[in-house]
């Protein structure tokens, strides 16, 4: 279970699945909606923490009691409102992480300016997927497997704990393949808090607290996580 709360602004057929997945994974999911229909739909879908309010009103947004470490998810259907809401939330909670959904490069740019921490452009990802289907059938298969709920194959991030076998080992000297996983990249705390791809050519060393992102079969990923923790 993820130990944070999230406020999801907007509830539509587009985001029903997201709400469903999040409610299983995070500590508490608050759904904030603007219309009575969306409110009724969320309640009918079994969510108890649903608030109906005018998201353009800052005083009402303040009353939500958002903590610094909470996530704010802006997925309103109206992209004008979504940008405005992002701006309002960023002004009210400058340290909170704001994740927003965009539907065009222009909106993405505006959301970025409004203070969104992460922006997902609905169509950019889809366009890339079409390109992959057309030109990279093997890549398409792999991505489908990674995102299919039925497959036992995925990405996983793991933090190197104290007294880990990896502590102090150079990245090039460690053979991940014998564990059945592939290291895609990491956050090397010594250098910065930026994610570095393993293919970037930098010589990194594993240290306690570094975060690794690996890809592999779930069972191998779990075994590997146990291995670095043991």
């Amino acid at each position: 279970m993820f130990k944070k709360s999230a406020f999801m602004f907007g509830y539509s057929p587009k985001t029903v699945e997201l709400a469903n997945e999040l409610s299983d994974e995070i500590l508490h999911l608050f759904i904030v909606v603007e219309s009575k229909d969306a409110y009724n739909k969320a309640i009918a879908d079994g969510y108890s923490s649903v608030t109906l309010l005018d998201v353009t009103d800052d005083t009402k947004l303040e009353s939500l009691n958002v903590a610094e470490e909470d996530y704010l998810i802006c997925v309103m259907d109206d992209h004008y409102l979504n940008v405005f809401l992002t701006l309002s939330l960023h002004a009210l909670y400058p340290k909170a992480t704001i994740v927003a959904l965009s539907d065009s490069p222009h909106t993405t740019q505006k959301l970025k300016m409004a203070g969104a921490t992460r922006i997902i452009d609905l169509y950019q990802v889809s366009a890339n997927r079409i390109h992959n289907i057309l030109n990279k059938p093997v890549t398409t298969q792999l991505i489908e497997r990674l995102f299919s709920a039925d497959e036992d194959f995925s990405f996983k991030e793991m933090v190197i704990p104290q007294k880990s076998k990896l502590d102090g080992v150079m990245v090039d000297n460690f053979d991940f393949s014998q564990h059945g996983v592939i290291l895609l990249g990491m956050i090397d705390n010594r250098l910065s808090n930026k994610f570095i791809f393993i293919t970037s050519g930098l010589e990194n060393r594993f240290d306690v607290g570094d975060t690794l992102v690996c890809i592999g079969y779930n069972k191998d990923l779990e075994k590997f996580k146990d291995y670095i923790s043991s």
């Binding site: 057929p13 997945e21 997925v75 992480t97 997902i120 090039d172 592939i182 293919t199 890809i215």
Partner: protein
Amino acid sequence: MLINLITKFAFFLNGSKKYKQFKYIASNFLKESDYPYKKYFDIFMILLIVISIAILVYEVKHPVADWVDFFDIYIVTVIFTIEYLARAWVHNDWHVMVVREYTECQFLKRNFLLWKPTKLVLKEKLTYLTTPTAIIDLLAILPAYRPLRVLRIFVLFRVFKLLRYTKSIHQFLNVLATKKFELFTLLFLLVFITVTAGIAIYVFEAKQNDNIDTLFDALYWALITISTVGYGDISPVTIEGRVVSMLIIVTGIAMISFVTSVIVSSFSEKLTELKENRIVEEMNKQDSFMIICGYGQMTRMFLKHYAKEYDKSYIIIEKDKEQVEVAIKEGYSAIHEDPTRHDVITKFNTDYSNITLLALTGSDVANVYITLNAKAISKNIRVITRASSQSIAKKSRLAGADSVVMPNLIANRMLFTAITQPVMYRAIYAVLTGEHLAQLDEVDLKYHQKLVGKTIREIDVRQHKLLCIGVHASCSNRFIFNAPLEYQLEKEDVLLLMGRQVSINHFKEINEEVSYV
């Protein structure tokens, strides 16, 4: 006995694959404008026509060598005759009619009469032979009959044959055909005024004017005057004649303006259609191309990133005229049509080209319908469709879609990852958006034969700052994730690598080798 033999021959033709294939190819060469090799045949025929006309013009004042005459009379004419007969031959199938009639007779236990299907076939062929184009074809052959020198002028009919091979002339005539009523009305008016003015000038001037002897002279003068050409060889000498001249000159100017405006308006009305037909024709000349249905955000995004990669091998079909204009303004080739219409997709060369159709309209219902339409036209059309939910995706697959893209599903997965596993999000984002520093790319060993036979250890992708995610093994047709170091690559395997685009391109470049065996 003879009827039996002919019937057997019809059955033989009906069962002969070689004969059918031969006729199919001949028909494609003669009739199918989408057939990729037809253009070569057309060019050849145009060349023959041009040579034939050039000989006609040259020999008016110069003697020509015997071999040139031989070429013109026999070679060109024989080719034209073969073409004329071949067109009549491919027009319909005699053997099919005979077989059908015979089978029906057997079924209904009635007497089989060979003349019945033969008569039908001949009637159809005769109908074809009396069409203007077939008559032109026939007249173009006549100049070969030397005893009648006057027939030489029929060489000019060979020029008309160009209509068959040049689309622009054909299109011009088609456009004029749409204004048939207006043009015929004007022609009738022209004839009426010319005849009236001709008679009038004949009555007024036949006795006074030395240049007007007959009614023909008067009619000739009227036509030359009304057309505003005015050679001046015949001119009125009486007051009455001059008044008639003034009247028909004014009428002539008005009529010419009217004809011009009719032709111009018909062209401006058809201009968009002509342009769009030309785009479709250009597309059909390609071996493989992409039809993108809908010009919404997804199409925009797709083309923004990949239009250069697909060069000119795509066409957008959009039913909103304003969107079409936007697409054209943004530099993409687009036509204004409703992609859900069956006849819109049939415009494309579904028989000879590899077509990929992207159903990316904003409506799920339209996308499913487009998918069904495309698959109904040809199973070979590869369809990638957009769906907003799992249930629509299921319906799209049932409709025959080869791949389904669900923007919401992918976006939700990314939003979820961004919240629950923010570090991993960076990796996923890069993989899904194809960022240059973490491109996932495929190395097809068909085109990189230098890698065949080597093991994963030997190719050592790490020295190229690449990551080998796995291999799609051709022998087992499955993807081997994290392929073992001792795995030996085979000639149809596909290597899946991750890394900077520049590293991948370099790796591909040094291992590029195509086997043509």
